[in-house]
């Protein structure tokens, strides 16, 4: 293990907006709600926010049309809040990408208090949006359609989420390891829902507060075999926000902070037919993040008290468990059994529900939970001895890993 780089950053405030299953409230308003809550949580004044960063992307090409409605840029939020930042960045990808930018910005002195926010659009249809939304053939032939670039090799086959990112690698996993049945997967999906019900900001806790039974899971509507509707996170309209500052400044704020111990940023994607490619390609990307993360943090899988592993689709946290060395290769589906990943288990995974148990805010839940757990602020969800947490976000080009701890480095 190489000598770890000393980080000087901390998560020091969190806020989340209301969440909805429809676009009735403009995203800009929800981003403002979340941001004000985060700023208030840290005990800061608006005038002290001198950095603003976000990932404005919707997870599908045609969702982004109006700033403040279907997506939210930093400039929109700066105007709405009347901020005067000296550093802003709109970072493509997922929240991990913008969180890493915020950490570097405060470490480099670009700003003292960075407001990181993520606002996500729930498509009007209430279903997964993606690049195949277009229905008009005229548009498809006019040159304004999306079936350019990589889509020209995917769209004609009807290859899109969750088939590409979840079903194809899962099928490969099953064939390779003779493991990974839906019966086994039920343990993770049921636990995630249960965890989410304990988090007041979860979609499920607010609107459908009941646990998922084994029968519910096994009988769920099939989307792309073996992926059912419950293997996909539920799209919601909502926003989350965080305050990131230096370790020294964090000590003077209103709440105990979560200190950054290590980070690993995304790897550039090689040419791929699908966004995430198949099992080997996804695992190679995840392992690369894991290797660099442990090296940067100066710790290893055995030191971790809990894990917040990205779970846009149910297979992902299992692949992350293996890629980070939290369990052995091909052992992920065995590892998630017998309550091992429950909040009371050997390695709690997504104790606030993750995406699957709280709704698709693309990793807001993972950052929130890790931050509040290690700073001892998780209330009824608090895990005893939660000193060090690992967070992983996303898929290949949008992936990131972080280790946050109770103590500053």
């Amino acid at each position: 293990m190489s000598t770890p780089k000393r980080h000087n950053a901390a998560f020091a405030g969190f806020g989340q907006s209301r969440v909805f299953r429809g676009p009735e409230v403009p995203l800009g308003k929800l981003a403002v709600e979340a941001s004000l809550a985060a700023i208030g949580d840290a005990g800061l004044e608006l005038s002290q926010i001198d950095g603003v960063v976000c990932t404005p992307d919707a997870p599908f090409a045609r969702g982004q049309s109006a700033d403040g409605i279907e997506f939210v840029s930093t400039s929109h939020l700066v105007r709405e809040l009347g901020l005067a930042p000296r550093w802003t960045a709109d970072v493509p990808g997922m929240i991990g990408n913008s969180a890493l930018a915020a950490i570097r910005a405060v470490e480099d002195g670009e700003c003292n208090y960075a407001l990181l926010f993520r606002a996500l659009h729930n498509p009007g249809s209430g279903t997964y949006g993606h690049t195949q939304e277009t229905k008009s053939d005229e548009i498809q032939l006019s040159g304004t359609d999306v079936h350019y670039a990589i889509e020209q090799f995917r769209a004609p086959y009807g290859l899109y989420p969750p088939a590409d990112a979840a079903a194809l690698p899962w099928s490969q996993y099953q064939a390779r390891y003779n493991s990974g049945s839906r019966e086994q997967m039920a343990a993770l999906v049921m636990q995630s829902r249960k965890n989410g019900l304990a988090f007041e900001g979860s979609y499920w806790a607010q609107y459908k507060p009941s646990e998922l039974s084994f029968e519910d899971y096994m009988n769920a509507r099939m989307v792309s075999r073996p992926v059912s509707i419950f293997d996909c996170d539920i799209p919601v309209q909502g926003a989350g926000a965080f305050i990131i500052t230096t370790a020294e400044r964090a000590r003077d704020l209103a709440q105990p902070a979560a200190y950054v111990h290590g980070v690993a940023g995304p790897v550039p994607a090689r040419g791929k037919v699908t966004v995430d490619e198949a099992l080997d390609e996804q695992m190679a990307d995840f392992r690369d993040i894991g290797r660099r993360l442990w090296s940067d943090a100066g710790c290893g899988p055995g030191d971790i008290s809990l894990a917040n592993l990205y779970d846009g689709f149910s297979l992902m946290p299992i692949l992350w468990l293996e890629a980070l060395g939290l369990c052995g290769k091909g052992e992920g589906f065995d590892f998630i059994q017998d309550g091992r990943i429950a909040p009371t288990g050997k390695l709690p995974v997504n104790p606030s529900g993750g995406n699957l148990g709280s709704g698709r805010l693309h990793g807001v839940n993972h950052f929130m939970d890790a931050m509040l757990q290690v700073s001892g602020r998780s209330g009824k969800r608090q895990i005893e001895g939660a000193d060090l947490a690992v967070i992983t976000i996303g898929v290949s080009w949008a992936s990131a890993g972080l280790v946050v701890g109770k103590d500053p480095l």
């Binding site: 939304e133 009807g158 099928s171 792309s224």
Partner: protein
């Protein structure tokens, strides 16, 4: 050559029957040669003149050695199923909604292990197997377009 049968499928829309066909690909400067090859019944893949590696999808330069000396070469069109799924529900495009459930997956070409193509399969879900040998065929689609598809081959031994 197989056809998608799309002209037989119609849908009520705004008082008239609209013909439903799969999404069409729009070639760009980098991929024009690929699509022209497909129209002529050839599967062309970029190959680097320096490191000899193939790559797909096409790129401006070699992804392995960064050489700009990449050009299209015909490949065998033989490979094996890398993975597959049956999309039962949730298809977004009306054509794929109309033919659901349908089989879709990825194929790995024999030439190189990371040469991966999407494909639909005309089979039953239960009859498909990862590693099953496949070979390319060319499917006519709407508006005179053609796409490569892969069909299970019965004449070859499984190689993986």
């Amino acid at each position: 050559m197989r056809t998608d049968g799309s002209d037989k499928i119609g849908r009520e829309g705004e008082g008239e029957i609209m013909s439903l066909h799969p999404p069409l690909s729009v070639a760009d400067d980098l991929t024009k040669a690929f699509w022209e090859g497909v129209k002529q019944g050839k599967l062309l893949v970029q190959r680097c003149a320096e490191c000899r590696r193939y790559q797909f999808p096409p790129h401006l330069s070699c992804e392995s050695c960064s050489s700009a000396r990449v050009s299209y070469k015909e490949v065998s069109g033989r490979g094996a199923i890398l993975s597959f799924t049956e999309t039962v529900s949730g298809a977004r495009h009306p054509y794929f909604q109309s033919i659901s459930p349908y089989l879709v997956g990825m194929v790995r070409l024999d030439e190189q292990e990371d040469l991966i193509f999407a494909s639909n399969f005309e089979s039953k879900y239960a009859d498909l197997m990862i590693g099953a040998p496949v070979e390319v065929e060319f499917q006519e689609r709407a508006q005179g377009t053609v796409i490569p598809q892969f069909r299970l081959c019965t004449t070859r031994q499984m190689e993986r």
